[in-house]
């Protein structure tokens, strides 16, 4: 997949849904980059996952913009729901550019305090840091190792989104 498609999709989602301009920046994932991780898994002829990661306060600011309200003071199920929807929109648009006939999971949002927590047995295909007026966030495309048409979903601590 052309990495530009992923970047353009992210820019479009944030611009359309939150009136927020974002752009890719040079930055590598660090241990302090994120406290929340939203993921959608894609399966079929191509198996992998799309991750959206940012810290909790950033997620609260995104939720405020998305819902046109003051940002919540703490990470709530509502904040997780917004982060999940953002990953869902990016993933849904991304998968149509990857291959035909792919299925996508509903989003899960997990606390990343357990840094070793795996998402799937995947390798990073693309990873972008984005900057915005609200601060940075990361988007990662994982491709499952040795894919044989099935995606290994890993255990995650998922927030309820309702």
């Amino acid at each position: 997949m052309d990495a530009n498609i992923l970047v353009e999709t992210v820019e479009d989602v944030f611009r359309t849904m939150m009136n927020l301009e974002v752009s890719p920046i040079e930055s590598t994932l660090g241990s302090s980059h994120g406290a929340l991780r939203s993921a959608v898994h894609v399966s079929g002829s191509w198996n992998g996952a799309l991750l959206l990661e940012c810290d909790g306060q950033q997620a609260c600011r995104f939720a405020g913009r998305f819902l046109s309200m003051d940002p919540p003071q703490a990470v709530t199920p509502l904040v997780c729901d917004v982060l999940g929807e953002l990953a869902n929109m990016i993933g849904g648009n991304m998968k149509s550019a990857v291959a035909m006939g792919l299925s996508m999971s509903t989003p899960t949002v997990s606390d990343e305090t357990d840094a070793a927590m795996p998402i799937c047995e995947g390798e990073v295909q693309d990873q972008f840091a984005f900057d915005s007026a609200d601060g940075p966030f990361w988007v990662t495309l994982l491709v499952e190792k040795g894919s044989e048409g099935k995606l290994s979903l890993c255990q995650q601590r998922a927030f309820s989104t309702d």
Binding site: R15, D81, E85
Partner: protein
């Protein structure tokens, strides 16, 4: 009931309702359901002017919901609002009886364009 809005995300149901208002459709009665199964229960009691549904939902997906609606000879206008953006998904939706498909991310203008022919604005 004017619109039956089906989405497993409470957040997205709120966003869609806001977009409907921003598109100029005010004062509409909107009933919400979290998935296709729940929406079918609603339809047993009342007929909306329009159904707006997500595609990717637990318990019963949007396309399964649409197929069941059409199988019951219900011809209510049906539109998807989904992040599923591929041509094959759109083709499947339309061939299964959907009237339109709006891709997320969406703007109020996109909502207006899709809903106007049905709701008469």
């Amino acid at each position: 009931m004017d619109i039956l809005l089906v989405d497993d995300s409470k957040t997205m149901r709120g966003i869609v309702q806001r977009a409907i208002r921003q598109a100029g459709f005010r004062g509409l009665s909107v009933t919400e359901a979290e998935n296709g199964s729940q929406a079918l229960e609603v339809l047993r009691k009342e007929q909306p002017k329009l159904i707006l549904s997500d595609w990717n939902m637990p318990e019963m997906s949007g396309i399964d919901f649409l197929v069941k609606v059409r199988a019951s000879a219900n011809k209510v206008p049906f539109g998807f609002i989904t992040s599923e953006a591929s041509a094959e998904i759109k083709e499947l939706a339309l061939s299964s009886g959907a009237n339109f498909l709006i891709t997320k991310p969406f703007s109020p203008e996109m909502i207006q364009e899709a809903l106007s022919p049905i709701l008469g604005k």
